[in-house]
């Protein structure tokens, strides 16, 4: 017992477990039990309904695409913030976290105001035949917004800790700027980049508030998976809502697992 010099083990762990049990474990168990009460057939009937499948495809497809865009843009923004100095750099750095701080409903109506056919940006896109609001493209735009900070914030510290000697070494050995980036920097940044990608993906798949305003929520076309749950609940179809909820929860667990494996990998990577 020499490890437990400090008091409060029973109290702090007991409180933690009781709190988690009541707030997290019990409600999640209610979801699992409700869904399993339907049996596999019932689950399958709910999930294979065409509107649900379409929503699943849209939520996943748009979330994957948004995470990909955020990986590329996030890497660029992290690079610019770490490597270059320009006026207002600190302000822009602080601004990166805006999507975390801005309530999703506010982001949702603001993006809709910008991208609606008569909106600030929408009126410039409309003559080009590009419709963003009330289409799947709008879903994508909202998902890019909410997932944006993740890649920047995972890549930034790694980039800051990188020793510039290795780049100089590559340059002295005759590598071009692109070669240095692709062969030297990118492999070092990869674990952080993938972690940010997975975090942005997890956030985008489950996102609700910022998406529903701009999406227009046309069934089979621009309806996302969380909205399917809300609609089932509005029709008092609790079992149907639970079935879709369980699928989303399973996705969260898988992504959480992937993220923790990625983080273990980046830590090992950093220690080499």
């Amino acid at each position: 017992m020499s490890r437990r010099v400090l008091p409060g083990f029973g109290l702090s762990l007991g409180y933690t477990l009781a709190y988690l049990g009541l707030i997290v474990f019990l409600p999640l168990a209610a979801l699992l039990v409700k869904a399993s009460g339907m049996g596999l057939d019932g689950l399958w009937t709910t999930l294979s309904a065409p509107p649900v499948l379409a929503a699943l495809r849209l939520s996943f497809g748009a979330a994957l695409l948004s995470a990909f865009v955020n990986a590329v843009v996030g890497l660029l923004v992290a690079w610019v913030l770490v490597r270059y100095s320009f006026p207002g750099r600190r302000l822009f750095d602080a601004l990166v976290d805006l999507p975390f701080a801005l309530p999703t409903a506010v982001a949702g109506i603001a993006l809709t105001a910008l991208y609606a056919p008569k909106g600030w940006i929408g009126e410039w896109l409309a003559p080009l035949g590009i419709k963003v609001a009330f289409t799947p493209l709008g879903v994508l735009v909202a998902m890019i917004f909410v997932g944006f900070p993740f890649v920047v914030r995972t890549v930034q510290p790694v980039l800051e800790s990188l020793d510039r000697d290795i780049e100089e070494a590559a340059t002295t050995l005759g590598a071009s700027r692109l070669q240095t980036f692709m062969r030297v920097l990118l492999p070092l940044l990869l674990p952080a980049l993938l972690t940010g990608f997975a975090l942005a993906l997890a956030r985008a798949v489950g996102e609700y508030g910022s998406v529903i305003f701009i999406a227009g929520n046309i069934p089979m076309k621009s309806e996302i998976l969380p909205l399917v749950i809300v609609k089932q609940l509005e029709q008092f179809n609790y079992a149907g809502a639970a079935a879709v909820g369980v699928v989303m929860l399973a996705l969260s667990f898988l992504l959480l697992l992937a993220i923790s494996l990625l983080q273990r990998w980046s830590r090992r990577w950093a220690e080499r």
């Binding site: 010099v5 400090l6 083990f9 702090s12 762990l13 409180y15 933690t16 988690l20 707030i23 997290v24 409600p27 999640l28 979801l31 039990v33 409700k34 843009v73 660029l76 923004v77 690079w79 913030l81 822009f92 601004l95 990166v96 976290d97 975390f100 701080a101 309530p103 999703t104 409903a105 506010v106 109506i109 603001a110 105001a113 910008l114 600030w120 940006i121 917004f145 944006f148 993740f150 914030r153 995972t154 100089e168 340059t171 002295t172 005759g174 071009s176 798949v205 489950g206 609700y208 508030g209 909205l227 749950i229 609940l233 609790y238 809502a241 639970a242 909820g245 929860l249 969260s252 959480l256």
Partner: protein, 289 residues
């Protein structure tokens, strides 16, 4: 360096200023278009119909009720999760026990659950058709479509914020100082208030700040459990939605501008804490929320 090595001019890579310039322009262009413009849109749309409309929307009795409810929900949820965060961090960083990694994952779980699912689980537990639904109805207790449901959903969604700030910090600080205090005869609470708390206060404040911002701004989870009863179960974000769906855009953006202002305040304070007390927050995990 190059002067010392005398690399011949043809072997030296050309370092034009063009590439950094283009990269900076692209990054800032994206930030302006995707972050600054939506923020500006909130305030411009809010004032589009003049200051009178703006003020009228903000002091409307339903808006005032929504502001009060939002403050009430945050005033319950944030302290609950602050106490939980401190207890969890103490248990996780000061003792060794089996299943610690699992416990850590469980604390993080609410961050990766969809807000709608976070609301759904409480409906399935306490709603009319839920596990405790019949019992609650028999005793005339209403949790779902009432204020307690809003609090529960908010507590779930904001549960990890404080714990996740404190755990990495307290891990890296170690427990030498606390053990020294113990040897000198301090009681558990004395150790906590005189040694631990001063060491973690800025990280604690940082966590509370983020927890509060999310608690006041949460939409999806509270939307599911609220039932949208005007003046009774509408928080500010839900009020924004109602006004917007009523085609009262100026009113919706006016109320939204209050939340946007809160977000800017949070970002400002957060940046200040990082700048002023960066070293004392240093062990923060580089992750979003």
């Amino acid at each position: 360096m190059e002067a010392v090595l005398k690399i011949p001019a043809h072997a030296r890579p050309r370092r034009s200023r063009l590439v950094p310039g283009l990269l900076i322009a692209a990054a800032l262009g994206f930030l302006l278009l995707f972050l600054v413009l939506p923020l500006a849109a909130v305030f411009v749309e809010a004032l589009r119909k003049g200051l009178g409309t703006y003020v009228a929307a903000v002091v409307h009795p339903e808006a005032i009720a929504a502001i009060k409810l939002t403050l009430l929900v945050a005033a319950i949820a944030v302290p609950l999760n602050t106490v939980f965060g401190v207890a969890a961090a103490w248990a996780m960083t000061r003792f060794d026990f089996r299943g610690k990694a699992l416990l850590g994952a469980l604390i993080d779980l609410p961050f990766s659950v969809s807000p709608v699912v976070s609301g759904l689980i409480y409906v399935l537990l306490f709603g009319a058709q839920g596990w405790f639904g019949p019992w609650l109805q028999a005793h005339d207790i209403k949790l779902i479509f009432a204020v307690p449901g809003l609090v529960l959903a908010t507590v779930f969604v904001t549960l990890p914020f404080v714990a996740r700030e404190l755990i990495p910090l307290m891990q890296s600080q170690g427990s030498d100082e606390e053990e020294a205090a113990r040897v000198l005869g301090a009681s558990g609470w004395q150790i906590f208030f005189r040694v631990t708390l001063p060491n973690i206060r800025w990280a604690l404040l940082y966590g509370v700040l983020l927890c509060n911002a999310r608690a006041m701004g949460e939409f999806g989870a509270v939307s599911v459990v609220s039932g949208h009863i005007r003046g009774l179960t509408n928080t500010l974000p839900l009020h924004v939605e109602i006004l917007y769906n009523d085609y009262n855009y100026a009113g919706a953006f006016a109320v939204a501008s209050l939340l946007a202002f809160l977000a800017l305040l949070t970002l400002g304070l957060k940046t200040f804490l990082e700048w002023r007390y960066g070293a004392e927050l240093a062990a923060r995990a580089p992750r979003g929320h």
